[in-house]
Amino acid sequence: MIPATFDYSAPSTLDEALKLLNEIGDEAKILAGGHSLIPMMKLRFAEPEHLIDLANVPGLAYVRFEDGQLKIGAMTREVDTEESAEVTERFPIFKDVAKLIADPQVRNFGTIGGNLAHGDAANDQPAVMIALGANLEITGLEGKRTVSIDEFFYGFYATAVQEGEILTEIGIPVPSGKYGNAYHKIERKVGDYATGGVAVHIELDDDGTCTKAGIGLTNVNPVPLRAERSEQALVGTKVDAEAIANAAQYASEDCNPSDDLRGDADYKRRVIKSLTKKMILKSLERANA
């Protein structure tokens, strides 16, 4: 399978990339790792006339702790968060999720920014970013703006990144107290999209009372979903069995899975319920470790 004909540019600065993107308009598409876009182009689901490759733009691939945040450059490869001890010690959820994204070869090239900007509810990073309360920095010719992850996903393949803009950085607040997070998904085989996936992040005060909870769901809604009622069921509790059962029940009720080859909607709701419970327990264990 070979993509339809297109033109290709690999600008060497972000400014050049933005100018090109604005010049060409909506016939241009940004190429990051290419591991979502190129398969779609090979299947002719996407036929952009011009690819603007960000590979030669310096300063878009980094992970650093700064201003109370974990900052991840949009062109950071999945493998680079997976293998960063600094990141996975403080956010073990990145180790959980990386292992479940496709396979090692794909993670060598696929980028975190691309995973999000692709706008696919079947991708795994969106749920993780929802749980962690990430902010996304989007750059255009007029400058930068920041949007919350809750305002990022518009619909199927549609995000807050507008024509002429590029997603440049993901910022994740680093909590000061006790916290834990975890992600898991059920997949039919290694490398598959999730039948259902759940990301959980909880913060506890010194008494073990939950002060903040983030729960994101993968592939059980047209857009990546925040399980708000589940979060509320945990905040203010000691994350006891009853609170966990409520949170799991709400997540299974509030998602909107569709019947497909991965299972029917009822099965997927059960998957979400079970995973929500397990990921809360795992987050709790990590918070108390």
Partner: protein, 168 residues
């Protein structure tokens, strides 16, 4: 529309005028006529097209040749040296790590990066490490043994037994 690219494959520069839509695997097989890199599923699932780009394993059916311009590629043809086969090639041979051989080039190149990052992987780490490479013949046990053998050889340790293990 065509662009001139130069890609270094196994130490040799290959320059061609190509369309940007040319996939790296096609460049390797057709422009450089190195046919050891295979096309299996053509959807980045099976790993038969795995090569190394600047030492990192990649699926060459899902990368444009033009993205690899100026980079160093290693294919299966670049594994052996004048001294003989690469330890991975020896490991696959000694442990019957292949039947039909279609997945083998990709499997070995993936294992090469794995062993470079983690010279002494556990069996589980090897199995996760080759989770992007499908083999429809062996059932993977001998592939895991082949990689363990290569690891031992590269670490300069005593080589594990290559006797088959029979399950009762």
């Amino acid at each position: 529309m065509k662009k001139q690219v130069t890609i270094n494959i196994n130490g040799e520069d290959y320059t061609s005028e190509i369309e940007p839509r040319t996939l790296l695997v096609h460049f390797i097989r057709e422009n450089a006529t190195l046919t050891g890199t295979h096309i299996g599923c053509d959807t980045s699932s099976c790993g038969a097209c795995t090569i190394l780009i600047d030492g990192k394993s990649a699926k060459s059916c899902t990368i444009l040749a033009i993205q690899a311009a100026g980079k160093k590629i290693t294919t299966v043809e670049g594994l052996a040296t004048a001294e003989g086969p690469h330890p991975l090639q020896e490991g696959f041979k000694e442990n019957h790590g292949l039947h039909c051989g279609f997945c083998t080039p990709g499997m070995m190149l993936r294992a090469k990066e794995l062993l470079e990052k983690n010279p002494n992987p556990t069996e589980e780490e090897i199995r996760w490490g080759i989770s992007g490479n499908l083999c429809r013949c062996t059932g993977y046990n001998n592939i895991v043994k082949a990689i363990q053998y290569a690891g031992a050889k590269m670490r300069g340790e005593e080589l594990p037994s290559t006797e088959p293990v029979f399950v009762e």
